[in-house]
């Protein structure tokens, strides 16, 4: 068996794959890698199939030692690392993969050739942090099994044109939500005209935004309804939250807007305090 030992787990390192869509009627969310593009790229760089499980490393501070020579790739966030970002590296005997503190973005993705081969729960190896499903966060001293050598070869790639996650003001496209009519007539302009600040309480369940409140004017009770990642719920105090991959399957706060699917990955990398604009889009 191929494996690696977790020397330092970092503050929160999770196993993730493409999640468990299709179980929402039973109350199980999709979960899965927050930065889907970074996970897909990391798998591609080491020749893994797209469904292989990777490690999602929040903020860095991780040291991993393979038991045998192992191809690895690090994508997503940028920071000091023992390997180059966005390319495959063969770790030799005794070599350790180290990730320092993230400097751009906050979630590194680490793919290992063969994939992280922990037991799947309901068809996925993803950790759902809200429901407590899937493998628990990595612990120091833990041994992670690695799957068999995949059929895919290590692709010959000189450079992947993926920049570091941006540190400045971020813009994401949003579409009108199903409960926009519960807000005042000028609420859409207020939502899309504000430079919001990412709150420190953000996590995989949601990105909380602070700024001038956008309070719902219709205060009648809204029965809970189905939610998707990217839906922007507004709590009674007027604070918007963009739901993440581990959000509850249903929710009772009105959805004022929904982030365009193509921009969801950007939310995985926003840092507390970063400025974010919600850009009105019909594209």
């Amino acid at each position: 068996m191929s494996a690696l030992t977790v020397l330092e787990p970092g503050p929160l390192t999770l196993v993730q794959d493409r999640g468990r869509p299709g179980l929402a009627r039973l109350g199980v969310g999709a979960s899965g890698a927050f930065d889907r593009g970074a996970a897909a790229l990391a798998n591609r760089l080491v020749g893994n199939p797209a469904e292989a499980a990777v490690l999602e490393v929040l903020l860095g501070g991780v040291a991993l030692r393979p038991w045998a020579p192992l191809w690895v790739a690090v994508t997503g966030a940028r920071g000091p690392a023992s390997v180059e970002p966005n390319t495959a590296t063969l770790l030799g005997p005794g070599q350790t993969l180290r990730l320092g503190p993230a400097e751009h973005g906050i979630r590194f993705v680490v793919a290992v050739r063969g994939g992280v081969d922990v037991d799947a729960v309901l068809g996925s190896r993803s950790r759902d942090t809200l429901a407590g499903l899937g493998p628990p966060p990595l612990r120091a001293g833990e041994v992670l099994p690695i799957g068999p050598e995949p059929a895919g070869r290590i692709p010959v790639i000189d450079a992947v044109p993926v920049g570091a996650p941006g540190d400045g003001e971020l813009s994401v496209d949003v579409r009108r939500g199903p409960r926009l009519d519960r807000f005042a007539a000028d609420a859409w302009e207020a939502l899309t005209g504000t430079a919001w600040t990412v709150d420190a309480r953000s996590d995989r369940t949601g990105i909380r935004l602070s700024g001038p409140p956008v309070r719902p004017t219709d205060r009648t009770e809204l029965p809970s309804e189905g939610m998707v990642p990217g839906a922007i719920q507004v709590s009674p105090d007027g604070a918007p939250t963009i739901l993440g991959p581990d959000a509850p399957v249903t929710g009772g706060y009105p959805v004022i807007a929904v982030v365009a699917d193509r921009d969801l990955d950007l939310l995985a990398q926003v840092r507390p305090g970063q400025s974010i604009r919600l850009r009105s889009s019909s594209r």
Binding site: R25, G27, V28, R175, P178, G226, T250, R262
Partner: protein, 200 residues
Amino acid sequence: MGDRAVLLEFATLEQTLAGYRGLEAAARPGVVDLIPAARTVLVVVDPRILSPRDAGVWARAAVPVPADAVEDREVVVPVRYDGEDLDAASTAAGLSPEGLVARHTATRWTSAFIGFSPGFAYLVAEGPGLGAEIPRRATSRPRVPAGSVGLAGSFTGVYPRESPGGWQLIGTTDAVLWDAAAQPPALLAPGTRVRFEAIR
């Protein structure tokens, strides 16, 4: 609702469940998830296969399946009616504790939707049910044990796992409501009929 979902609204809970049954029966490629709730069904699609617009057309063409048109699976849940809130809930319903237990066990319930946590089914009564709306507790409990049977509004439900909760607790069951290794993992998937049986 964004690039990957369509929210369908219904006038009543019964119509929602009938609509959900109809959509399930009309299943087609590109529909990733159906999320029934109290007045809505959210259709989640894979937009590479089915656009939200086409999903809306598909959903409107689906024929609702009313409750009396199907014999869904019926599950019997044995309950010890020893809950801490049995007296308070009975008072709220204008019944004696024995009367509340009699109505709870005489009613046929249906799982309408799952909310709150994996496998937590909101069960609705066929017929008058308890005949009263049961208020939630003024303060929710930080820890409700798995298997606790509760009441809230016109719903009854069973906590699948230990969790916080504000429902009035009337009893406990040893039935396994949620087992991630089982197929299906939830005992009370939407549409499942449920009867409660008093045990000592």
